[in-house]
Homo-oligomer: 357 residues x 4
């Protein structure tokens, strides 16, 4: 398995949802940087279950404990080890799922790959792992902030409901005024109703998160394999339930456009362009304009309704999830998206330090 | 810069289009595998300019020369060094572009990042680099073929024209019967006309390539960061002009769907599912069904028409490309897409050898 | 910083001796392997202080807690997160060392490199970090044992006292019958006396550990940069206080020998040779004979006697260590040497799985 | 196989001695650095056979051809591809060795590992590969020179003959006045005679190279696994025929010394110490004093005399090498040692750029 992300600023995570704790190590964090642990906890709270009526009512306090690499409010340059206890893990009831292969879950492939399956909680396939990404991502986000980079993510679609305002007119301060994290307050209301409707049906629904990074320095990313958007794309596609990634500020679909319609014209030699179809990245390298991408999530596979499937003997069975599950994970995924953006940008920032001697 | 792709089966490429040759090293290729060099040359020919009326009329014979790691038709386990001469590089005339920052090209960011710019041919940002990917990808494709994996890519959209047949009804043997590499022959005709129309305008057009891998073993990919689709996505997004990636067999848009509509039901314990919205990958791990993804290309940024831009003194200028340029690169990108799929799948296949002792 | 070791079987460690706990993540451990936690604890006990009269009398129980990746006695294929509490860390008194740069310690370079210094316990330069290597190394050692590889390390010199018996006549079962871990019981007695003598002087003494791996499969290691002995050498040189590494069974000094004196003659086509000057590795690749190497340790730099040095203002000062320090770390380093050998061999074993398809 | 060296400044090499050419790619070279190709050629000439009466009389002109990444005398930030033709490869006569496993060569392990063997020239086990290290190392050496680092290597022992002068009294300008590259001219004469004597016997002889780096910045290296000396040690141990590595300026054997005898006392807060037993590295991190290490080479395994061995059927045979072989490779290895030192120091220099933000 490969449980590390990043080349210089590198997160290695561990833990299963049924175990004692989740945790990780951040290696390669520069020394002497001030970090506010409260802001990390705030990001964890934006991700945790039980935060509003549109999320699962499970109760995980997700309290961060830092074990190393941090002293007197500053990073020391040493690896930052951390753990987050799994408080709620004992109350789960998975006995009915012990032998079932749930549709569109990792149960089947996990058992084939590893010869065992963690029926208690999905093993490493559980989205609980993302709690570690938020810890490391929040470190990265604060470090980037200190060099002028601001990262925003918000929900732009839930099911068939999409933001109606022009995206660059949105008031991003509104993101957390909406429990679905949609800063267009009209759309937000409709999204909440959509989730509640689906919830009552025992069904689930997908959606889209838009992520914007402002203030990114010019020159991050490499021109060949490690194009900045390719690495951002990989980071986003590695989030549970993500099915698609695109970048570029698009009022129109770029693949069906003509070059004369979507080329971005330079305004001056700061690199500012009159349009931003490039999404802040040209030839794989950041150009100083806003980085702009969209991440599509499928609906959660766990349904509170009967579904046909097979068990590990190949017999057809009917399953129905019990308990407290999310009907839509997209609002909770907002801090995870921010984290993957932050991890990727900071890593490329540190990599770019050796572009010149 | 980072000019390597893969962890075990690793390609490192080098070369600029104006230099003497492109080249690369394939490290980590297992020994004793029979490779047909003619098949590699065939893939290079599918990629090269001048192959049909819808591509650039530049003339690059793209003759592969293998320098090491290959003996008597077999891989030896040693690194495979190779070069491809740049025959046509002297005739290019870029003098008018020496100081211009072309819109939506890498010129501006390249000069900021490296303090120099390869005005002779775009340096490492030139799509000529992909010739090396096709060499390595073709090695990988042949190796995968020997373990039962078949990779197909084809053009499914050009501009607003998309395949009209149901995708799983397509006759994939038709791909190379179409100069745009669209196996739906009716759509193919329309696409050719669309490109010719745009060509006459001096404009360019984007499109979409669909890639399918059949026969992939169960168990490739990791459940956390190195999800199989995340690594495929990164590979595809690293191809020049790619703006978006999605995976999963989609008749409908998955992010606006309900879970009950898009969960894939297992048919039997071979892992076969009745639908394939998962695109052959669940929880980041291949499940034995066809891998299925779509890659969106923007229109080429080089236009044979006047465009406003700035030069490196920040002055506004008008540029217009001269010479032989592609109006649509999507048909030529088909073997590149196949190559990135092959490189990624083979690497994960070799990685998966240590899942168990 | 770089706190990871290995390519496929990879340990990432964290923690400082003054913090709450040490810990690490083992990524890439194959699934389904039986591990005896008691044997890991036994290796930790061989390393810990306070185990005999020749070691520091500090009291660290070094109790291992595994947080993930291990279930019902078997590895699961998930990353193995673990911690070991630092029980004794509060009682340390380092106030007199807060501003001093101790001779031949990392204090000076650490402060220059990171802009801070962990005067409480040496930060990542403390040998306490090796506790994590022993945990991961013990996992590796047990896995190797299951495929027939046995690793032994023992003390062959302390100061000027060296093993007097011919090394291949030694009874390796005697290693732990000696508190200095020297299986030649006569030499063992002399070594104990030597350490006690130095201890009384407040001084310290170096020594040599010999490490032997029996039953290594043929074919581990690569012919160029990642020669097996180069990677073993790096692992050993990364242990605190190690100054030199050599490999090969040497009755004579190989660099002053003639080829006709030290070439190993093959006996049969199993690869067995009549002599083993090659130390089980030819051209960087294991040949099935015993792997054999020697690791030299300098004397501990912390002395219980007055030493001249400077403080961080550049002023000359006199320091003298207080408390419980080792006069000779070599006996305690035996399980660490075994661990680095095991980590390196297992990693190369997993890498070698892709030599052929 | 693993044919790359370095993390940021990374060499990937390819080629076999019987093939058309050797070659490599240097990835991660910062842009805008002036490189004198003549100085690289000079280093290649110091390594090549046929340069004096004490080396093999084979004739390889070792002419470097750079294919990319270098323009108008400056590095561009793009990967530097290069090749060196194998001119002399056709004249070799290895037919008598086709089925023999030569003693202390890689023939046996290579055939077991890869299922094939390059009897034409040892495949990747041939020391001809080091020509690529010298190219990349010479780039690194020139870059380091520009930041004040000077690297010297010289022969300090051949067989039982060692430098008689105190090492820090040596005039390093004399190195290339000696065909064995020993700057102590009296010892040099004795070494030449020793090699000539061995040569007449058809035998071979080993020796030791000392390497010194002056002007290294403080702070290179990491405190745990990637200690600077561990990485230098790995680089040196990866050179063909190297059997041992030690670091530290040693008039006495450090492992048999007491702490009070070998601790280095700081003179002032520049980090200068009165002695340099630490060899310029403390706790794995450079301290600004001269880096100092010794590398021991075994005698060449190819002898011009009869040796007993087996063939690949397990039959006992007698072999005797024909043609032009080195009786002692140590003098030719001097630029290789310098190269591995340069590659390692430059890589750590670039890594250290992200110690702080």
């Amino acid at each position: 398995m490969a449980n590390s992300y990043g080349k210089i600023f590198k997160l290695t995570s561990f833990g299963e949802s049924h175990g004692k704790s989740m945790g990780g190590v951040i290696d390669g964090c520069p020394s002497g940087i001030k970090i506010d642990i409260n802001l990390i906890q705030k990001q964890l709270d934006r991700r945790r279950p039980g935060q509003s009526k549109v999320t699962s009512q499970r109760n995980e306090s997700d309290k961060l404990e830092i074990l190393s690499g941090f002293f007197n409010g500053l990073t020391t340059g040493s690896p930052i080890g951390f753990i987050i206890e799994n408080r709620d893990h004992k109350s789960k009831d998975y006995s009915n799922l012990k032998s079932a292969f749930r549709p569109s879950h990792a149960d089947f492939v996990y058992e084939k790959k590893y010869g065992n399956r963690d029926y208690l909680g999905g093993g490493r396939s559980s989205a609980r792992e993302t709690v570690c990404r938020v810890v490391a991502g929040s470190f990265a986000q604060q470090i980037l902030k200190s060099i002028g980079v601001d990262i925003f993510a918000f929900v732009s679609s839930i099911g068939s409901i999409s933001i109606s305002e022009n995206i660059d007119k949105l008031n991003l301060d509104n993101i957390d005024n909406s429990i679905v994290r949609c800063p267009d307050m009209n759309s937000s209301e409709l999204m909440i109703k959509e989730i509640e409707k689906v919830q009552k049906q025992g069904d689930t629904i997908g959606g889209i998160i838009t992520c914007i990074a402002k203030g990114t320095p010019i020159g991050l990313g490499s021109p060949v394999f490690d194009k900045l958007h390719a690495d951002i794309g990989k980071g986003m596609l590695s989030i549970n339930a993500v099915k698609a990634f695109k970048y570029g500020f698009e009022q129109k679909d770029i693949s069906s456009s003509k070059g004369s319609e979507v080329n971005d014209i330079f305004i001056d030699n700061s690199g500012k362009t009159s349009t931003n179809f490039s999404g802040g990245i040209q030839g794989g390298i950041s150009n100083g304009n806003d980085i702009y991408c969209e991440i599509s999530f499928k609906p959660v596979s766990t349904l509170l309704m009967n579904q046909e499937t097979i068990n590990n003997k190949g017999e057809k069975i009917i399953i129905k999830a019990k308990g407290r599950h999310d009907s839509c994970v997209v609002p909770r995924a907002v801090p995870i998206v921010e984290s993957m953006m932050a991890l990727t940008l900071l890593d490329h920032y540190l990599i770019s330090k050796s572009d010149k001697l």
